[in-house]
Each structure stands twice: as structure tokens, then as C-alpha cells.
């Protein structure tokens, strides 16, 4: 018996131009999704700790639903399910961004809640005692400190969401994995291509890690 599995570097390199066509989609879905997810997360995270019930309960329902179901199911629901409700098709790219935004938003809500709640009560009291309004106290005192504590968890969520975009090959978004599958179908170089895809993901996630640790070391504010 003879194994002639050899890693063909030339085939790997050759696949790169085709794979790189998927990179903008992966990046777009990741960063647009995360940016929207961050906004959603701040909003729902703050609603989650509101003393007002009708703000808190919707946030809890949202968070539990989107943390408790798989992203794959979420994107399939949005892409294949929602059109029959809306009466029109949804663009695959839009569906992907929406799925990341909603899913990451749910996790980020909990990160925001934890970050804000971790700031000692005395900080808020000191702000209020100086005559700052509740909003000013939050904006100038509580939030900057909370954000600093949230960075590691946010970085983690960013990495998870970037990797989650690989699932969207199933709805036909031409992101990294989808491009790879198309390429392999023509060249039968699965080993090399998946290796290159893994490498590309690693480049993205490592860049993010490094950017965040730089931010953390320098400090966001002062």
C-alpha cells in the first residue's frame, strides 16, 4: 500500500487569488455584523439592568432567544424563513450580517451588563453627589471604566463571530469557505485549500487579538 498524500505548496498558493475574493465578504459580514451587534448589545445590555420592567423583560427575552439557538439556525430562519413572512426575498449578505448582529448582540448585551455592574456603586454615588445628572455620571464615569473591563470579553466575542461567518457558506454567500468549496470542486485540492482557509481565518483573528491587546495596554482613556 502506498500513500502519496503530499502537501502541494504550489496548489495552495495557486488557490489564494480565488480564495481572497471571499475575504471581503468574510470581513464585511464580520465587521458590519459586530458593529451593529455592539450597538444592539449596548442598548439591550442597559435595558437588561434597567429598573423599569418593560425595558428589562424584552431585553431578557431577546438575549435568551439568541444565545439559546444556533447561529446556523438563525441565519437559515432569516434567509429561508423570513421571506415568506415579508413577502420578498432577503439578500444572503444581508441575512448573514443580520444573523451575526443579532447573535453577537445577545452575547454583547451580557458583556455590557457585566461590565457596567462591575463598577463599584461608590463611583456612581460620587458622580451624583457632585451634581452630575444620571446620564452624565454614566457617560463620564461609569461607562469609560466599564468599557475598559469589557475589552477582553468583547475581543473573545469578535473572534467567535468572525468564525461563525464560515457557516454562511450554506446560504451561498461567497465568503472564504464558500469560495474554497467552489475551488475544490474544480481542482480536488481539499487539503491545501482548507489549510489556506484556516490560515486566512487565523490572520484575521490574530490581527484582532493584537489590536485589542494594544488598545488594552494603552488604555482607552488617559
Amino acid at each position: 500500500m502506498e500513500f502519496n498524500f503530499q502537501f502541494d505548496w504550489q496548489a495552495a498558493i495557486a488557490s489564494l487569488p480565488f480564495l481572497l475574493k471571499g475575504l471581503p465578504y468574510t470581513l464585511l459580514i464580520s465587521f458590519a455584523g459586530l458593529a451593529i451587534g455592539f450597538v444592539v448589545g449596548i442598548l439591550c445590555g442597559l435595558m437588561r439592568i434597567s429598573p423599569t420592567r418593560w425595558l428589562r423583560y424584552p431585553a431578557i427575552v431577546y438575549i435568551e432567544v439568541f444565545r439559546g439557538t444556533p447561529v446556523l439556525v438563525q441565519v437559515l430562519f432569516i434567509f429561508y424563513g423570513l421571506p415568506s413572512l415579508l413577502g420578498g426575498p432577503i439578500n444572503a449578505l444581508t441575512a448573514g450580517i443580520a444573523a451575526i448582529a443579532l447573535n453577537a448582540g445577545a452575547y454583547i448585551s451580557e458583556i455590557v451588563r457585566g461590565g457596567v455592574q462591575s463598577i463599584e456603586r461608590g463611583q456612581r454615588e460620587a458622580g451624583l453627589s457632585l451634581g452630575l445628572s444620571g446620564g452624565q455620571t454614566f457617560r463620564y464615569i461609569v461607562w469609560p471604566q466599564a468599557l475598559k473591563r469589557m475589552i477582553p470579553a468583547l475581543g473573545n466575542q469578535g473572534i467567535v463571530s468572525i468564525k461563525d461567518t464560515s457557516l454562511f457558506s450554506v446560504i451561498g454567500v461567497g465568503e472564504l469557505v464558500r469560495q474554497g468549496q467552489v475551488y475544490i470542486a474544480q481542482t480536488f485540492t481539499a487539503l491545501e485549500v482548507y489549510f489556506m482557509i484556516a490560515l486566512l481565518y487565523l490572520v484575521i483573528t490574530l490581527s484582532l487579538s493584537m489590536a485589542l491587546s494594544l488598545l488594552e495596554r494603552k488604555g482607552l482613556v488617559g
Binding site: 463599584e120 460620587a126 458622580g127 453627589s129 457632585l130 451634581g131 488617559g222
Partner: protein, 264 residues
């Protein structure tokens, strides 16, 4: 009124004697616990009132009610013409009160993400609308006064506890308050740093600031207070000039408390 050399606060007949703080039948409950019972207490302009009592007696809660950090359930509190209502229904007057009342906390509560200077200038700029220049000038003057001017660019974590508390004092004074509240300002300090904070407070009292102070420093209370209020079980049991209260306490509870704290 007593043998102390009195400060440059108004003492003649023309002086405004309308109380800055007027608490009337204030009651507060923490669930089942009745932490403030029918508190009646007025503080005149320039007066230094020291509140003493065992831990859990409600003395911190009492002064935290004055700037609305603690809600109360019945009664009323008037601070410099603004009325605080029960159950947090004070509305706009709450912020008006907080703008005129400064507070120093046991744990300092400096803002760790801001420089010493920014700790002091934040509220004057955001609440009073001062320019940075104006706020910086005031900060410089106040930090000089409490002896921290050379640390203005540092962050709170780089300062000792005593220095931090003096910054906290400067931060509160930057708002030019009409009344200062002190909630056990030296309780979290190492013994060798208590003196520097008390000195700064003494100086403030001599300048005529109206002060309500919760403290366990009985020597300081005797020296600086115009009036000492003894609180037990959420009630004002006895009050009077320090000499009278410390030397000839009338109430059993006061005697028992003082014999415990003054013995050592």
C-alpha cells in the same frame, strides 16, 4: 457661644440664621428595618455638626439622605431652599441640592480613569459650565490648598490614601458647595494619614464652611464641632455642644456609647 476662637462665620445679629438643612420627621425603612425614626435636625449656616453613634445606628444613612443618595419614606428634607420629597419623588430639586452640597466618602471614590486634575474639574465643567481654563485655575488653587498640587497629573491609584482623600475634598469643593457632608472620611485610612485629612477638614471649618460629619474621631469632634449629635437605633438620642455631650451626657445610651469609645 463657646470658648473656641470662632472663625470668620457670621455671628452678629444681622447674620442669616435660616437653616441650610432642615430635616422634619424623616423616616426610612430598609424592608423590615426602621433605620431612621422621626429625625428632626436643622443645621445653621457655618455650623459644624458631628454625628456620632455605633455602626449600624443610622448615622451614615442620615447624611446620605441630605443629598438624596438614600431615599426616605416619610417626612421632608429642605436643603438651601430646595425640598427633597419621600420615595425619591424630588424631581429637579434633587440635582439642585446635589449641586450645592459636596460629599466626601469613606472609600474616597475618586475616578480612577481620570487624572487628579480631571477628577477635580469634571463636575465644574459639566455641571457649572465652566471653561477648562476656569476649572483648571480653581483646581490648581484647591489642590494647592490641600497640598497635592505637584500630583495633579497623576492618577488616583498612584496616590496614598490620605492624599486621595484630600483630592476628594478638593473635588467636592470645586463645585463651591454651600454645605459639605463627610461620611467617615478617615475610617479607611492608615493611622498615620488620618491627621492630614483632619487638618484639611479643620481648616475648612475655620473658613466658615457648613459641615455635617459622621466620624469616630472623638478628639476631632470635640475640637471642631459646634454641636455633636448622638444617634442610636435610627433616633437622635441626645445633642449639644461637644463639651456638654462628651463630659456630661444625659442619656444612658450616650453614656454607654461614650464609655466604650473613649476608654481606649
Amino acid at each position: 457661644m463657646n470658648d473656641k476662637v470662632k472663625r470668620n462665620r457670621p455671628t452678629d445679629e444681622t447674620a442669616d440664621t435660616t437653616p441650610i438643612v432642615r430635616m422634619e420627621r424623616v423616616n426610612k425603612h430598609f424592608g423590615e428595618l426602621h433605620v431612621m425614626r422621626d429625625i428632626d435636625l436643622s443645621v445653621a449656616p457655618g455650623e459644624v455638626v458631628v454625628i456620632i453613634g455605633a455602626s449600624g445606628s443610622g448615622k451614615s444613612t442620615l447624611i446620605r439622605c441630605v443629598n438624596g443618595l438614600e431615599p426616605f419614606q416619610s417626612g421632608r428634607i429642605e436643603v438651601d431652599g430646595n425640598t427633597l420629597s419621600p420615595n425619591g419623588a424630588s424631581g429637579k430639586s434633587l440635582q439642585a441640592v446635589r449641586t450645592e452640597v459636596g460629599m466626601v466618602f469613606q472609600q474616597f471614590n475618586l475616578f480612577p480613569h481620570l487624572s487628579i486634575r480631571d477628577n477635580v474639574t469634571l463636575a465644574p465643567r459639566k455641571v457649572r459650565g465652566w471653561t477648562r481654563q476656569q476649572a483648571d485655575d480653581t483646581a490648581r488653587r484647591l489642590l494647592e490648598r490641600v497640598g497635592i498640587i505637584d500630583q495633579a497629573d497623576k492618577f488616583p491609584g498612584q496616590l496614598s490614601g490620605g492624599q486621595q482623600q484630600r483630592v476628594a475634598l478638593a473635588r467636592a469643593l470645586a463645585m463651591e458647595p454651600r454645605l459639605m457632608l463627610f461620611d467617615e472620611p478617615t475610617s479607611a485610612l492608615d493611622p498615620e494619614m488620618i491627621g492630614e485629612v483632619l487638618d484639611a477638614m479643620r481648616e475648612l471649618a475655620n473658613d466658615g464652611m457648613t459641615m455635617m460629619i459622621v466620624t469616630h474621631e472623638m478628639g476631632f469632634a470635640r475640637e471642631v464641632a459646634d454641636r455633636v449629635v448622638f444617634v442610636h437605633n435610627g433616633q437622635i438620642v441626645e445633642q449639644g455642644p461637644p463639651a456638654a455631650l462628651f463630659d456630661t451626657p444625659q442619656h444612658d445610651r450616650t453614656q454607654a456609647f461614650l464609655s466604650r469609645v473613649l476608654k481606649h
